[in-house]
Amino acid sequence: MDSIPMKSPSAKHFQKQILDDYFDRLASARDRGQKVVYTFVPGNLTELILSFDLLPVYPEVNALQSALRGDSGNFVKRAEMAGHSEDVCSYVKCDIGMMLLGNTGPAGKPLPPPDLLLLSYTGCFTFMKWFENLAALYDCPIALLHVPYQAEGGVTPAMTRYVVRQLEEEIIPAMARVSGRPYDPEKIRAMCALAAQSESLFVRCLESAQHVPSPIDSYFGGVFYMFPIFTAFRGTLEAVKYYRLLLEEIEKRIRENRTAFTLEGDLPEERYRIVVEGPPNWTHFWELWKLFYRRGAVVVAGSYVRVGGIYDNGFRHDPDHPLESFARYCMGCYTNLSVPARVDLLTRFMEDYKADGLVVHSVKSCNSFGAGQLLILKEVEKRTAKPCGFIESDLVDPQYFSRAHIKNRLDAYFQMIDERRAYHDRNPGH
């Protein structure tokens, strides 16, 4: 892939530029004869897809972007008209509704139908049912990569071999068939080297939030930082350039001792440093963010910006062992971790990021995140002795967001932190 010339020095503008270019290429893919692969974000195989000159489409990202634009409610209803029950994941219904209503993508341009559905099963059973539905709707082949769950809290050599064998015997041949190209080990090696560079830069961006005050919000702001690395750009020069620009901007903020950026400028005062577990609500994303920053709360770390893959423990794509590193990457994504491993990770974040507490956002749609969240909350609370709060809504079905209820819980939660501070001020040593 050719590198896009950098027109603007701002990371935000550069991201927009590369995303616009990506959606243009998607819109014209059919005319140009370029083949398209639909796939999922957690444990994605972006380098492999791009190396075959295939274009990836991420239905989850389309769904969340539809919700940000205010379209998801209609899409969900359309899917329910087609027979999907109220209890089905709203990402699925939003995606199917969008397809049934013309498949216009987030950039307002039509999305091409898939030539291949690459189903990497990373702890989410709904993914399987989702693509089974898409396979029927699009009359399109599926390649299934079964990713073993880290039930014992780690990855064994046998697990890695199991995934590599599937890549060699099923996934790579399926991509070769669809693209009409052979597997190119040199290209993959080069892309893995670029991926590793992006990943190191991305980690440095996220770790900047350990600084007090945090120069970034790692959840509401962070979701924008994670797009290039978890969607169509990891393994490209664009992603490296983007994260280099982003890191420069963040480091400048640290030098200037600036607080996190919000919708209304810099946070006037950093009063609470919070770790958040769970994906955001996308239909009322800005409202939810306001409920945090208007109280002076900044999210310093969270699981969601690691939903595609986790780099905090040192994992990088490996140019010398690309397939093994794909396997380890897929197995290491957040929703494929055991609950104790998630507790360990969040507890570490609480300490490393000097957090005042944990907020769990439980979404009705997602069992991959939801299962174990209560246990996670109690364990983190026990280990850190920091207040943990619980709020509930959904991913992209607007009817499940209740601002009044969430505000009520967050009010109580932040006041719990205040009360503890006041108690410790009155009783030093406790």
Binding site: A412, R420, N427
Partner: protein, 413 residues
């Protein structure tokens, strides 16, 4: 003397607690929450001040309990009559002109009923007992008086009158007119009390701090610094009432809260019901309305049952239709009602489980803690799984949030 005021503006009732600087409860006030939250808070606060005044009078003049009770009866009756006048005027405005003569007759009948109660002078009078009962409010008593009078006369269509009364009550309730003791006409008060009134103003505590909490706290006429979450207030209030409190269950009008306190009494975590008020006070209130039973009669009626018919606890409205279906199917009313109360308890226990369980002593607070069928059922379930547990229910359980708010206000002094 200085004091603090805590206001807990709930979805059903608004509570107020007046607290001395030393942390002693001076007075409690309660009223039904009405459309105008400012009026709700104001009336609850005035009730608490009146309650404190009565206690002060007792200490000023070494008055007997009988005299104090009589004073309170006189005050409440006088206040009730004034509200009735306003209600009557509002009723004449909202109802058809042709109904005016009939309404005048009803007003006279209602007055006579009150006169009879007043003349009993301490002897048993149903209407005066109701006026003195803190769990009944003006709207409940006035509505019953008017409808009873209309029924006896047979002059006005009951449904038309009930609709008119609902409109007139809304207008009446949103008017502030309850007076402080020293503004009350001396003739309303027993002779032993009259000379003490001028002294009252000198020793009445000055409210030096206030905190508002509850469902409607954002709409209280308080600055933001004087607003606290009900979670913290209930936790603090419960710990004040029971120093060994670790887990607090609060069932109010629209919220059920499970609150865990740490060893220092600080809120460690909390869980609240989401999306539906099933299992809360409104759930019981809704079914009571559907069946035409008074809310306070619901618990005693359920307690007469020997068995409970299972009722769902996931949705208030579905529970209403389910109760009707069960009754049509021939189930006994009291047994269905016991099932309904069991559903409330099961939902609360599920919330407690999600919040981490019950530790050492469970404090049950909120309006529903006054419902004997809920309390009895809760005890039965706790006996099965938590035999060594202490269950605390304070007579002032409904004021826990307001008490916590007043305690927070003390910290700001």
């Amino acid at each position: 003397m200085i004091a603090t005021l805590g206001i807990d503006l709930g979805s059903t009732t608004c509570k107020a607690v007046l607290l001395s600087k030393e942390g002693k409860v001076l007075g409690r006030g309660i009223t039904n929450t009405r459309a105008d939250y400012r009026v709700s808070a104001d009336i609850a606060a005035r009730e608490a001040i009146l309650d404190a005044d009565l206690a002060l009078l007792g200490s000023l003049g070494r008055l007997s309990t009988e005299t104090l009770t009589l004073t309170e009866r006189r005050l409440r009756l006088a206040g009730f009559r004034r509200r009735l006048q306003i209600l009557h005027q509002a009723l004449c405005r909202v109802m058809d002109r042709t109904a005016a003569p009939g309404l005048a007759d009803l007003a006279r009948d209602v007055d006579k009923a009150l006169d009879a109660g007043d003349a009993s002078n301490g002897a048993h009078s149903r209407v005066l007992d109701q006026i003195m009962d803190r769990s009944l409010f003006f709207r409940d008593i006035a509505l019953a008086l008017y409808l009873d009078a209309a029924r006896l006369r047979g002059s006005l269509d009951e449904e038309t009158l009930a609709t008119g009364l609902a409109k007139a009550l809304a207008a009446t309730e949103n008017t502030v007119f309850s007076k402080a003791l020293d503004e009350t006409a001396a003739t309303d008060l027993p002779p032993a009390v009259r000379p003490l009134i001028p002294k009252l103003a000198a020793i009445r505590p000055r409210i030096a701090g206030q905190i508002g909490t509850g469902y409607g706290r954002a709409l209280l006429p308080f600055p933001e610094t004087e607003i606290r979450s009900e979670i913290l207030c209930h936790g603090k209030g419960a710990r004040y009432l029971f120093p060994d409190a670790r887990t607090v269950l609060d069932i109010g009008g629209q919220d059920t809260k499970a609150i865990q306190l740490d060893e220092n009494g600080l809120v460690a975590s909390f869980f609240m019901n989401d999306r539906c008020a099933a299992g809360c006070g409104r759930y019981l209130g809704y079914v009571a309305e559907e069946l035409g039973i008074g809310l306070t009669d619901l618990g005693p009626l359920a307690c007469t049952a020997c068995r409970a018919v299972p009722v769902t606890s996931t949705c208030t409205v579905f529970a209403g239709t389910e109760v009707r279906s069960l009754l049509y199917a021939g189930e006994k009313q009291e047994e269905v009602l016991l099932g309904l109360h069991r559903a409330v308890v099961l939902r609360a226990l599920s919330l407690l489980a999600r919040s981490g369980g019950i530790f050492d002593a469970l404090v049950f607070t909120g309006g529903v803690a006054q419902n004997q069928a809920v309390v009895r059922t809760l005890k039965e379930y706790l006996a099965k799984d938590h035999a060594d547990l202490t269950l605390h229910i304070h007579p002032d359980a409904v004021y826990t949030g307001a008490l916590g708010a007043a305690l927070y206000a003390l910290e700001t002094l």
